[in-house]
Symmetry: C2
Subunit: 109 residues, 2 copies
DNA sequence: CTGTATCCAAAGCGATACTG
DNA sequence: CAGTATCGCTTTGGATACAG
């Protein structure tokens, strides 16, 4: 189904929205990571959510999945060029959020 | 209730997430706008959603509400400094989203 | 015109058990 | 180890009616 966007911010919100995607992208930032490793890195995520989000990220072209056909299974995920450039955008957003929090809640840790 | 954030991207997602906030910020970008005007500008939004989102944006310090005590009522919303700086961030995000779409779906309009 | 209150459907998220 | 399936709770969004 074709989706209509009123502006391109929605596009990005669809890509990184939700509770986990930004974290996953963050943890893939420095190279390929295995599935099990991701579960440990992304604190609190369940296996179901992780796989779900990974599939969406792959479908959207932000990450790529490489499966080594061996037993036990070994699968690695990494950022594509899209994912990598998005990571830079997220950095900008993150910095803004940091300033905002520091500025608005200066006493909080 | 205190909320724990794993990274500052979540903070921003809380501020602009959901279906409408980025649009509202966008339409407030060029100056104060009245409530009724916003309903027309933000295509498809219902009155309930608009007021709800406006209240949250005001609570978060991104917009300010000015009420002229007259009959019939007249209320105007405008961006605060926070909101204005966030608008610039959204511009960056928007541009990235634009490139992404053009790049990935070149045939679409 | 601006804002509030209900009620309801859909989506998101999570716990858990299970398969190859 | 990687991935799937089910079920239920919670959150979000939307239609509608109403009040100051």
């Amino acid at each position: 189904m074709k989706k209509i966007y009123n502006n391109q911010v929605e596009v990005v919100l669809d890509l990184i929205g939700g509770k986990w995607k930004s974290h996953i992208i963050f943890h893939l930032g420095s190279g390929p990571v295995r599935t099990g490793e991701l579960i440990r890195l992304v604190a609190g995520i369940t296996q179901k959510m992780l796989i779900e989000q990974l599939k969406e990220l792959e479908r959207d072209g932000l990450i790529s999945r490489k499966s080594y056909n061996q037993v036990p299974p070994r699968v690695e995920y990494s950022l594509t060029n899209y994912g990598s450039s998005l990571k830079d955008i997220l950095k900008v957003v993150c910095d803004w959020g940091d300033d905002y929090v520091k500025d608005r809640y200066p006493t909080a840790k």
